[in-house]
């Protein structure tokens, strides 16, 4: 539905997008996930036509909207002609217009009859549950309500593609979680192709069908939610997602497992004989690691040759329902342990523990920078 081919955009000397390629399928919600300044908003801006790339082609629904056509003719469709809706990061409701006039703004541009404009405005306000606020001005409604109106306004022109730039960040922090779910429900009902920009991992996980992790001015990895979180494809992605990542060497292939040496410690991963002898990067999600006082606990892994490594707790950071516990086992391992387990085990900093995880929870790939 949306296709970006080798799109490059620089601001002065700085390349914000570098040969960026992206393919968004019809009716999917794709999250562009990455840290601030990695080019997420610029990607939305070049798709919408608000910003012109230095080179590269952009297609929406098979139509070239930006770039060079076959005859080397430069194409740049105006934002309005691209049939996109855009919900911005900052509040962009027109402050001098009532809620209903904000929603009707795009409808009036389509030269519809007054009755049609009113009827469509009413149905959009109904869709986002804001009909009773039609006569209010934007400064008289809350942050979440404003974003609902922004969504309704962006849908008024019947866009084929919806671009959302961190729409939750403008909502009060305590209401963000419920607004995320609300927004997810709207998008599910709409069955629209959407690109959702965020730097928040859990938001990307909740909102999207697929996730594209952005970094270094390009897409680092794109895939299903589980693909990206379970099998990060690069050090950058693992680091950004807060996943443990280690450099090691695949030393030996056993019958069912691969033995990898990391800082002098042997780890067992699922079999991948083609990696033997290579420098590799090993990643493991903190959620897939258990802590135990008893070394034999890993035997519970239903036939899997689990890993059990001894280490000492060096740091504990408590969160709402879990804690990030860091264990030094020759290298630092971050784990995410429920608060109840910490209480049951009586864990505290300086305790000796066994770090236990299944061999198939390790993700191993070749270290391209260190082959």
């Amino acid at each position: 539905m949306i296709k970006l081919e080798s799109v490059t955009k620089s601001f002065g000397e700085k390349a914000v997008l570098n040969e960026l390629c992206l393919d968004v399928k019809k009716n999917e919600i794709l999250s562009l996930l990455g840290p601030n300044g990695c080019g997420k908003t610029t990607t939305l801006n070049v798709i919408s036509g608000l910003s012109r790339p230095d080179k590269g082609n952009i297609f929406i629904d098979g139509v070239l909207v930006e770039g060079k056509s076959g005859g080397d003719k430069t194409v740049h469709l105006a934002p309005y002609d691209r049939k996109v809706g855009y919900v911005f990061q900052t509040m962009t409701l027109f402050p001098h217009m009532r809620v209903r006039d904000n929603v009707a703004y795009g409808l009036k541009a389509k030269h519809l009859s007054k009755q049609d404009v009113e009827a469509k405005t009413r149905s959009l306000l109904d869709f986002v549950g804001m009909r009773e606020y039609a006569e209010y001005f934007p400064h008289q409604i809350s942050g979440g309500q404003k974003q609902r109106i922004e969504l309704a306004r962006s849908l008024a022109t019947d866009p084929e593609v919806l671009l959302l730039d961190e729409p939750v960040s403008a909502v009060d922090p305590q209401l963000r979680e419920s607004f995320r779910l609300e927004l997810k429900n709207y998008l599910r009902v709409l069955e629209i192709t959407a690109v959702y920009v965020t730097h928040n991992l859990s938001e990307a996980f909740i909102m999207s069908d697929r996730i594209a992790v952005m970094g270094n001015s390009r897409i680092e990895q794109i895939g299903s939610k589980t693909d990206v979180f379970d099998k990060p494809g690069s050090e950058y992605v693992a680091q950004f997602l807060g996943i443990n990542e280690y450099k090691g060497k695949a030393v030996k292939a056993h019958a069912e497992v691969l033995e990898i040496e990391v800082n002098g410690v042997s780890l067992l991963a699922s079999s991948a004989p083609n990696l033997v002898g290579k420098n590799v990067i090993v990643t493991i999600k903190p959620e897939n690691i258990m802590l135990s006082m008893n070394k034999s606990d890993y035997l519970d892994f239903k036939g899997d040759s689990g890993n059990s490594i001894e280490g000492v707790i060096t740091e504990m950071v408590q969160m709402r329902s879990s804690a990030q516990v860091t264990v030094d086992a020759g290298f630092l391992i971050k784990t995410r342990i429920p608060l109840s387990s910490i209480k049951n085990l009586g864990l505290s900093i300086g305790d000796k523990v066994n770090v236990i995880f299944r061999s198939d929870s390790l993700n191993v790939f070749t270290d391209n920078n260190n082959e």
Binding site: L50, P79, T92, P95, H96, G106, A109, Y136, S154
Partner: protein, 250 residues
């Protein structure tokens, strides 16, 4: 002490007024002419300033081009220039022997001594006020607001007139009011460029200057009228700055 320093001279003008004599001065044709001409020329200068300064301000606020900083500074010069210098400059540009003199002669226009010259002098001195206000207003509009309008509307003109301009209205109107006030009070450039001809170029400040020796009480009445005008304009400016969108619904 400072407040007293500012308010005492204003108070002095009104204390000197005798209501019955003041009302008789309002029949004085020289005063009436000066008020009429002052209002006519200042309104014309303000309208013309608005028409030319707002688009210029928009270009200066939203476009990048070589020499922009120089042009931006140039547009401010009339604000800091002594009015007498402004008068000389206008003469050198538009008088029959000035730069554009031959061209104006061909068109049959002789500006000095005409009411148009008064308007031009007022415009030259006062238009930077509306230009500054409009430029600052255009610069302050959230670019994402304009971008969201561009996505929803195929006409740039519609975006300008329905979003950009309404968002800047208050600040532009403030500039318009300041331009009007400055135009009405213009003295030096008008005297130098347009002259002091009753009924043709003699605006209120010029009339006050003339009357001060001939009929000091008439000068005081006219001064009081100008103070009332200025004060009213300042009140409007203050109200404009306080107004909120949809405030009446709060």
């Amino acid at each position: 002490m400072f407040v007293l320093f500012i308010s005492l001279p204003i108070l002095a003008v009104f204390l000197r007024l005798n209501p019955s004599q003041a009302s008789s001065q309002l029949q004085n044709p020289q005063i009436l002419n000066a008020i009429f001409l002052g209002l006519l020329t200042s309104v014309a200068a303000t309208v013309a300033s608005f028409i030319f300064a707002v688009p210029t301000a928009y270009v200066l606020a939203t476009r990048k081009f070589p020499g922009k900083a120089v042009l931006d500074t140039l547009m401010d010069i009339p604000m800091v220039l002594p009015p007498a210098v402004a008068g000389v400059a206008l003469l050198l540009a538009f008088a029959p022997r000035g730069l554009l003199g031959p061209l104006l002669n061909v068109l049959g226009l002789t500006l000095p001594g005409s009411t148009i010259a008064v308007v031009l002098a007022q415009m030259f001195v006062a238009s930077p006020f509306v230009l500054r206000s409009a430029k600052s207003a255009f610069e302050q509009v959230n670019p994402d607001l304009i971008n969201s309008a561009k996505i929803l509307s195929d006409s740039r003109l519609r975006v300008f007139f329905t979003v950009t301009l309404p968002l800047c209205t208050r600040q532009i109107l403030t500039g318009v009011m300041m331009t009007w006030a400055r135009s009405m009070g213009e003295f030096g450039a008008t005297l130098m460029f347009a002259g002091n001809l009753p009924g043709i170029t003699q605006t209120m400040p010029l009339a006050i200057y003339m009357l001060l020796s001939e009929n000091p009480f008439a000068a005081t009445v006219l001064s009081a009228i100008m103070i009332i005008f200025s004060f009213s304009i300042l009140i409007v400016v203050k109200l404009l700055q306080q107004k909120k969108y949809g405030g009446k619904n709060d």
